[in-house]
């Protein structure tokens, strides 16, 4: 049996590991054009600023591929011929498979701004982007970041730390509306400004200005021109599936590969996992899950199913975490879903950036949590949501979900807030 895996990211490598665990003799090939080793895309920012080395963001030892008997190909798949079970590679080589996993991840979204082709315009998603930004940042004095999401704020943070003046353009009137509400988003904006970041809210980039093919500035809403040496576009990512066109693989609305509960595509013997797929979310909507842990879990299930198992991939209550400059963020359940009749219980600990937001329904049942500043155990929060706990009960027990380092000042709800609003 020859298993071929497109993609050496978390989904691809996890599937390969699982396959090897089930089948010690199968031939397993991994194709990737990006880097020789599996690395943590999520940690690119730390490798950029020297908190970690490039080697540190490779989770496995260098002999992993040999010891697991994986064949590695540093090449790009340009075409899939599903009838002949064959892949064509950029180098001109072809490779046959018995079972295929597509775990090709995502590509940064770009938009056709005038000037987007100038040198100095880029993204921060791939290994190559890391090298590019490192090189650029050595001489650059100013940078403009476009797009107020997670990657944007990470890039803002590392460029500031590298001593570069950063202007951060955010289209909405606060930071990260998908996850935060206005109060929370503005608190983070405040913090970014405190760190010296020039945040422009309700602002879009109109065009990129250049000279001799190089970026010199951008023009923003209202016509103002900002001088810059780098423009980093971080308006989101989209499934990297262009090489599959004409292959007969079914796509969803958002460009991701449609898979069933077993992560099989519409074509027999072809599976898909990770950022490039569209799966059914906890709320019944089909769309990509562009997260590290979902990539790992999908890779795990896909690997086992390729080996002949029948495991279902199902997510229940949503949860995630992030770090926004110095502020840690934990979320669980349905936050920012505008549920019918929902209320939000909100508190901020004094002037700190520690906040708690609890979304609850008219009958007081708690539906979601958005927590900033402290560490929270999402496992407990999720359990409460699934147990349909009422707000009063949750407020009384909230401390049990605290996950701060030992000896941190204990979490307390001020007396005047402890009643339900």
């Amino acid at each position: 049996m020859h298993y071929v895996i497109i993609g050496n990211g978390i989904a691809g490598i996890t599937a390969a590991n699982k396959l090897r665990g089930r089948d010690s003799s199968a031939q397993i090939s991994i194709i990737s054009y990006e880097h020789d080793h599996f690395f943590s895309r999520t940690a690119l920012m730390y490798a950029f600023c020297g908190q970690l080395s490039e080697r540190c963001i490779e989770p496995y030892e260098r002999d992993h591929y040999d010891s697991m008997k994986f064949e590695r190909m540093r090449d790009k798949v340009v075409r899939l011929d599903a009838d002949a079970k064959k892949l064509s590679l950029e180098s001109g080589n072809e490779i046959n498979y018995d079972r295929l996993l597509i775990a090709s991840g995502s590509l940064p979204l770009m938009f056709g701004w005038p000037g987007v082709e100038f040198e100095g315009v880029g993204n921060f998603v791939t290994w190559q982007d890391l090298k590019w930004l490192k090189e650029k940042s050595e001489s650059a004095k100013r940078a403009v970041i476009v797009g107020g999401g997670l990657i944007g704020i990470e890039v803002a943070e590392i460029l500031l730390k590298a001593g570069i003046k950063v202007t951060f353009l955010i289209r909405e009137d606060f930071f990260w509306p998908v996850a935060l509400d206005k109060t929370e988003g503005l608190m983070i904006v405040e913090q970014m400004r405190h760190h010296g970041c020039d945040v422009r809210l309700s602002t879009e980039m109109k065009q990129i200005l250049g000279a001799d093919g190089k970026v010199v500035g951008v023009e923003i809403t209202g016509g103002e021109k900002i001088d810059t040496d780098i423009v980093v576009i971080s308006i989101g990512v989209t499934p990297q599936t262009a090489f599959l066109k004409d292959s007969g693989i079914e796509y969803g609305e958002r460009g991701g590969i449609v898979v069933n509960d077993y992560l099989e595509t519409n074509i027999k013997d072809i599976f898909a996992a990770g950022d490039c797929t569209e799966v059914v979310w906890f709320n019944g909507v089909r769309r990509p899950e562009q997260l590290w842990y979902t990539g790992r879990d999908q890779g795990e299930i896909a690997g086992l199913n390729m080996a002949g198992d029948k495991h279902e991939y199902r997510r229940s209550t949503f949860y995630n975490s992030a770090k926004l400059f110095d502020t840690e963020y934990t979320t669980a359940g349905l936050v920012n879903f505008r549920l019918e009749g929902e209320h939000n219980w909100y508190m901020r600990e004094g002037k700190t950036d520690r906040t708690v937001r609890i979304v609850y329904l008219p009958d007081q049942t708690v539906a979601g949590f958005n927590m900033l500043g402290r560490r929270w155990d999402h496992r407990v929060l999720v359990k409460w949501i699934e147990e349909k706990r009422k707000l009063d009960w949750v407020l009384e027990h909230l401390n049990e979900a605290n996950y701060d380092e030992e000896f941190m000042p204990p979490f307390e709800i001020p007396k005047e807030l402890s009643g339900v609003k």
Partner: protein, 365 residues
């Protein structure tokens, strides 16, 4: 981002560059001159410190205080790390430095309440310990044989290794800039398991030999060649001397500190310290563990990188696997630097045992 850790890998002195090799060479030279020659005696006398050992103690204490301030600048935004650092500074400057000094002023041999056998072999060597008052003898035996196990079962190794110990104290403070240089490979882990228990066995054999020899009425003086007594006396004295030279001087001092800029700050603690070996065994059966919050790990590697004991914390975190490792000194840095708050140091009894044959890479599958 952890402000203080920025550029750890861009800085020659912190990433095994030329400067690091130079600092390492200086440390080696310093330790060899200090331990095996008397070049520092005149300086010690000039400073009114009496012997070069007092000079060494003074420098050591200063290094912990200055390094402690540096550590707090990096990680002082956490109460755990504040308290831990104050504790280390207290135990070094008061218990390990001042109290023995004061005792000597009163003509008693200095005694350090915060060092136990077998880190301090002297406290079980009859010819040394019986020079102390009875209460101190009782303390030395009870603390090592009963206190250490109980404390470790309740709180893990950390109560000692990263709250009290002088070697650990230096590592956590002056060694802080180098903590990320510990070797994370499986090879190093395998070596650690052999080396640390070998030293423990050596320490036990040495102690037993000396005790037996003493109880038979012959007295071996550390390191001295003596042909007048029985073979046992000869062997015992030779073994005691060898242990003193190899383990106490070379491994804990010269190599242990000399290698800071090249192999991280815990070379001695991780590979050789016999007390750490004992603590590690009790830790495995005790309450302390590092809890991993499911699914939140992004495999960034900050935890593994900054673990001074070379534990591949990320491998456990990525596999949603809470863990107990004999080597872990409970410094808490992995939890502190984790950008997703995945890890938490906890003392609880309800630990689920790990699957058999756990190795840092295979736990993934």
């Amino acid at each position: 981002m952890q402000a203080g850790l920025l550029r750890s890998f861009q800085n020659s002195s912190q990433s095994r560059g030329m400067t690091a090799w130079f600092i390492s060479a200086m440390l080696f030279a310093f330790y060899i001159l200090m331990y095996f020659t008397s070049v520092f005696d005149p300086l010690a006398t000039a400073l009114g410190l009496g012997s070069r050992w007092n000079l060494y103690g003074t420098l050591y204490t200063l290094a912990i205080i200055v390094g402690g301030i540096y550590f707090l600048k990096r990680h002082g935004n956490s109460r755990y790390h504040q308290l831990r650092t104050y504790s280390l500074i207290f135990f070094q400057s008061v218990m390990a430095f001042s109290i023995p000094m004061v005792m000597e002023i009163f003509d008693t041999k200095g005694f350090v309440f915060s060092i136990f056998w077998p880190l301090k072999m002297d406290y079980f060597y009859p010819q040394n310990i019986f020079e102390y008052p009875v209460l101190l003898i009782v303390y030395a035996f009870l603390s090592a044989l009963i206190g250490v196990p109980i404390m470790t079962i309740l709180f893990g190794k950390r109560w000692y290794c990263s709250w009290m110990c002088g070697c650990g104290g230096l590592a956590e403070t002056a060694g802080e800039p180098f903590r990320h240089l510990s070797n994370k490979s499986r090879k190093a882990w395998r070596f650690e398991k052999v080396s640390i228990y070998s030293v423990l066995v050596l320490a036990i054999i040495t102690t037993v030999l000396v005790l037996v020899n003493w109880s038979l009425g012959t007295h071996a003086v550390s390191g001295e060649w003596s042909t007048e007594h029985s073979t046992l006396n000869l062997v015992s004295s030779k073994v005691q001397g060898a242990y003193q030279f190899i383990v106490a001087a070379m491994l804990s001092g010269v190599l242990g500190v000399g290698l800071y800029p090249l192999m991280g700050s815990r070379v001695w603690c991780r590979f050789f310290c016999p007390l750490a070996a004992i603590l590690g065994i009790f830790q495995k059966f005790g309450r302390f563990r590092i809890t991993v919050k499911d699914d939140m790990c992004i495999s960034c590697g900050n935890c593994s990188t900054y673990c001074e004991m070379g534990i591949d914390v990320r491998a456990y975190a990525q596999a949603n696997q809470s863990f107990k490792r004999a080597a872990c000194v409970g410094c808490g840095i992995c939890a502190h630097v984790c950008p997703r708050g995945v890890l938490r140091l906890e003392n609880k009894w309800d630990f689920k045992t790990e699957p058999a044959g756990l190795t840092p890479q295979s736990i993934d599958f």
